[in-house]
C-alpha cells in the first residue's frame, strides 16, 4: 500500500448468510467515507460493475467453503490479494455450517432434498483458514462494525488493529451483569469466548453462545470445575461451544470427552 492511488479492495461472500457483508453495509455513517478512501473494485453484493481479475491490496472474505466453486473462489482471491482478511465466524472458525461435518454429504442431501440430487455441488463445510493462508482474522457472527472500521483505518495507516485477547467475562463484569453460570446455573460460553462484543448477550439476560469462537488459551481447569460444581457436564459446554467453532474446538481436548459421553 505504498501506492499513491487509492488501495483496491474486494469484498467476497462464500457460502453463508451474507451477514458480515451486511455489517459493512450497515456502517451507514462511514460508507461514503470508506468509498472515498479505497477503491472497491469487486463487490458483487453491492455493485454490478465488478472487476473479477485485477490485483487487490485488501480482500475481505466471509462464509465457509462448502462447494467446489467456493474453493475456486477463495484460491483465486488469495492469489489476487496482498492482504487477505477472513471476516466472520464462518470464515474464521467454520461457524454453524461446519457443525455436522461428520455426517456424509449424501446422507444430508437425501434428508433435505428427498431425492438423489446428484447435480448438487457440495463438500464438507470448512473455514477459509483451512485452505489458504489468511493475514488477519476478524471473528464474530456477525462481525462488529467498530472492529471492522478500526481494522480498515489501521490498514490505511499501514498497520493492523489489535483485537482483545481476553474472555467475554471481562466485558461482562464491566457491565455489572449477574453471572449466567454462577447466579443462574446456565451453560454460558463467555469464559472461553473471545470478547469484543461488549458482552452483548449476558447484558440482555441471555447466556453467551460462543459466536466469536474460542480464546487461544482458555483456563480449562477452572472452567471444568466451575461448571461441574453447578451440575453442568463438560459435554454440554463443549457441544454449545462447538456450535460456532466445531473444527477448532473439537480438537482442543473436548472431542474425546464428548465422544466418551456419547458412547
Amino acid at each position: 500500500m505504498t501506492d499513491t492511488s487509492k488501495p483496491q479492495v474486494g469484498i467476497f461472500g462464500l457460502t453463508g448468510c451474507a451477514g458480515d457483508q451486511l455489517q459493512i453495509l450497515n456502517c451507514e455513517d462511514q460508507l461514503l467515507w470508506l468509498a472515498s478512501q479505497v477503491d472497491i473494485v469487486d463487490w458483487v453484493m453491492a455493485k454490478s460493475d465488478n472487476d473479477h481479475d485485477c490485483p487487490l491490496h485488501i480482500a475481505f472474505v466471509e462464509g465457509v467453503v462448502a462447494t467446489e466453486r467456493d474453493l475456486e473462489t477463495i484460491k483465486s482471491v488469495r492469489e489476487r490479494s496482498t492482504f487477505l482478511v477472513a471476516i466472520g465466524t464462518c470464515a474464521v472458525w467454520g461457524g454453524l455450517p461446519a457443525m455436522q461435518n461428520e455426517i456424509p454429504r449424501d446422507r444430508l442431501l437425501e434428508a433435505v432434498y428427498h431425492e438423489k440430487a446428484t447435480f448438487l455441488d457440495t463438500i464438507e463445510a470448512r473455514p477459509v483458514t483451512h485452505f489458504v493462508e489468511v493475514d488477519y482474522l476478524l471473528p464474530g457472527c456477525p462481525i462488529e462494525r467498530h472492529e471492522f472500521l478500526a481494522l480498515v483505518r489501521a490498514l490505511l495507516a499501514g498497520t493492523t488493529a489489535e483485537l482483545p485477547q481476553f474472555p467475554v467475562c471481562w466485558e461482562c463484569k464491566g457491565k455489572e451483569n449477574l453471572c449466567r453460570v454462577v447466579h443462574f446455573g446456565e451453560v454460558c460460553c463467555g469464559s472461553m469466548t473471545r470478547s469484543g462484543c461488549g458482552a452483548r448477550c449476558p447484558s440482555h439476560g441471555v447466556a453467551c453462545s460462543g459466536c466469536r469462537g474460542p480464546l487461544e488459551e482458555p483456563n480449562y481447569d477452572a472452567n471444568i470445575t466451575m461448571f461441574a460444581d453447578r451440575g453442568i457436564s463438560w459435554k454440554e459446554v463443549g457441544q454449545k461451544m462447538a456450535n460456532f467453532s466445531a473444527p477448532v474446538w473439537m480438537t482442543k481436548g473436548l472431542e474425546q470427552e464428548v465422544n466418551d459421553d456419547n458412547r
Binding site: 462464500l14 451474507a18 461514503l32 468509498a35 434428508a111
Partner: protein
C-alpha cells in the same frame, strides 16, 4: 439473423447471495431461461435435529442476515405454538416492531441501494451519491433507523439475541422508544418526497404478464405482516396447517434451491406487490396516499413495480411503527417480560409476511424439548419459478423487438427483473426439511 445465441450472467450483482442467469436463444425462439442458484447448501435441518428448542432461534436466524429478524419471529411463533405458550400483548407488540424494523432495513437497502441505481443509470448506490447526495444520505439514514429498531428490540441489527421463547430478555426503556418514535416521525416527509420522485420514473413493461399473487390474510382487518391463512388473488383461501398440501416444492437441476408451485401447478408471486394486490383496501394515512400516487390504477401485473410496492410498504412500516411505539409507551416500563411454560411434545407452524413474501417455519419437538423435525419454506424459493417465467417473458419481448437489443441491453433488463423480486439467495438455499 443470429442462430444460436447464449447470454450468461455468471454473478448476479446487487442481490443477496450467489446466483446467475443463463439464456439460450435459437433464431427467434427462446429455448432456456434459467436462474442458476449456486449458493452452497448448509443443511440446516441436520443442524437442528436433536438440538434443544431453546437453541433453534439462535441457529435458524443464521440462515440469512438480512432476514434474521423475520426468521427469528417466525421460529418463535412456531415453537410457541408447538409448546402451547401464550405470550403477552406487549411481547406481541415488540415482535411486531422488530418485524417492522427488519422490513424498513431490508426494503430501504433494496429499493434505494440495489434496485434504484438501475432506474437512474448508475452501477451502485455509491456512484449514485455523486448526483443524488441528499437522497442517498436519507436512504442510508432510513436503513440505519431500521437497524436501530432491530438493535433496540432484538439486541443487535443482525441475528437478534434478545428474542426468546416466551418473551424478551430485556425490554426497551421509554426513553429509547421515544427516540425511535421521533426518528420514525421525522422520516415520513422525506420518504413521501421519494414517493413523488419515484412517480416521475417511467417503469418499463417488457416483463409484464398475468400473475397469480399469494399472501397471508392479516390477523385483523388491517394491513399486517402476521397472518392467519393463505390467500390467492384468484380468491382461494387455504389453512396454514395444510401449507405443505397448498405449496408444492420440487427440485430443478440448475438450482441449489427448490422451486415451488401451488397444487394446481401454477407458479405465483409472494412479496410486497402480492400483499398490496390482496390487501390495499386496508391502507390508510400517508400509506394510502403513497399507494394512490404510485399505483393510480391499482396493482397491475408488472414485476418491476415490486420496487415501488416496497416503497409503499416503507411508508406503512413508518406509520405503523409510530402506532406501536405509542402502544408501548402507554404501558409501564419493565426490566424483562417472560411467561412461564412447561415443556411438552408438539408441532407448531409459524407463517409471517416478511420483506420478500410469505415465510413458513414448522417444528416438531419431543417431550424433552428436542427437535424431531423442522421445515422452512422461504419467499425467495417460492418466487424462483415465477422469476424464471418473467425472465422468459422479458427475453421473448426483447427478441421480438426491432432492432434486437444487444447482449448487454438484454443482460441489464434481465438483471432488473431478477432484482425486482429482491431475491435472497442465502435464504432460498438453507434447505431444511425432515418429514
Amino acid at each position: 439473423m443470429t442462430t444460436g445465441r447464449t447470454i450468461t450472467i455468471p454473478h448476479l450483482g446487487r442481490v443477496e447471495g450467489h446466483g446467475g442467469i443463463y439464456v439460450k436463444i435459437s433464431g427467434n425462439t427462446v429455448q432456456d431461461v434459467n436462474m442458476d442458484i449456486h449458493e452452497g447448501s448448509r443443511y440446516y435441518e441436520a443442524l437442528l435435529k436433536g438440538k434443544h428448542f431453546l437453541e433453534v432461534q439462535g441457529i435458524i436466524t443464521r440462515v440469512c442476515a438480512i432476514c434474521s429478524s423475520s426468521h427469528t419471529v417466525a421460529a418463535l411463533t412456531a415453537l410457541e405454538k408447538a409448546l402451547d405458550v401464550e405470550v403477552t400483548e406487549r411481547v406481541r407488540q415488540l415482535r411486531g416492531l422488530l418485524l417492522l424494523g427488519g422490513t424498513i432495513e431490508s426494503h430501504a437497502l433494496h429499493v434505494f441501494a440495489l434496485a434504484l441505481p438501475d432506474f437512474l443509470g448508475f452501477d451502485s448506490v455509491i456512484s449514485m451519491a455523486s448526483k443524488y447526495p441528499d437522497q442517498v444520505a436519507f436512504a442510508l439514514k432510513l436503513k440505519q433507523l431500521g437497524n436501530a429498531i432491530q438493535t433496540l428490540v432484538g439486541g443487535r441489527a443482525v441475528h437478534p439475541i434478545n428474542t426468546l421463547v416466551g418473551g424478551f430478555g430485556k425490554l426497551p426503556s421509554h426513553e429509547e422508544l421515544s427516540k425511535i418514535r421521533r426518528d420514525l416521525e421525522a422520516s415520513l416527509e422525506p420518504l413521501m418526497d421519494f414517493v413523488d420522485l419515484a412517480a416521475t420514473i417511467e417503469v418499463p413493461t417488457w416483463a409484464a404478464q398475468p400473475t397469480l399473487y399469494v399472501a397471508l390474510r392479516p390477523y385483523e382487518e388491517a394491513f399486517r405482516f402476521r397472518g392467519i391463512s393463505i390467500c390467492t388473488s384468484e380468491g382461494d383461501e387455504f389453512d396454514l396447517d395444510g401449507y405443505q398440501e397448498t405449496i408444492k416444492e420440487f427440485t430443478v437441476e440448475h438450482s441449489h434451491a427448490k422451486h415451488s408451485a401451488l397444487a394446481s401447478g401454477e407458479t405465483y408471486m409472494v412479496g410486497s406487490m402480492a400483499r398490496l394486490r390482496l390487501w390495499n383496501q386496508y391502507l390508510g394515512g400517508q400509506t394510502k396516499k403513497a399507494f394512490d400516487t404510485l399505483f393510480p390504477e391499482g396493482v397491475k401485473d408488472n414485476i418491476l413495480m415490486n420496487n415501488w410496492a416496497q416503497l409503499v410498504e416503507l411508508v406503512h412500516c413508518v406509520e405503523r411503527g409510530i402506532e406501536i411505539c405509542d402502544l408501548l409507551l402507554a404501558q409501564p416500563e419493565g426490566a424483562s417480560e417472560m411467561v412461564d411454560y412447561e415443556v411438552s411434545a408438539g408441532r407448531g407452524i409459524g407463517a409471517i409476511e416478511v420483506p420478500r413474501g410469505t415465510l413458513f417455519h414448522d417444528y416438531e419437538i419431543d417431550d424433552e424439548g428436542l427437535v424431531v423435525a423442522a421445515n422452512v419454506i422461504t419467499p425467495t424459493a417460492q418466487n424462483l419459478a415465477n422469476t424464471e417465467r418473467d425472465l422468459r417473458m422479458a427475453v421473448e419481448t426483447m427478441v421480438a423487438a426491432t432492432p434486437v437489443p444487444s447482449d448487454d441491453q438484454i443482460k441489464l433488463q434481465l438483471e432488473m427483473v431478477a432484482r425486482a423480486y429482491d431475491p435472497c439467495i442465502s435464504c432460498s438455499v438453507h434447505v431444511i426439511r425432515e418429514d
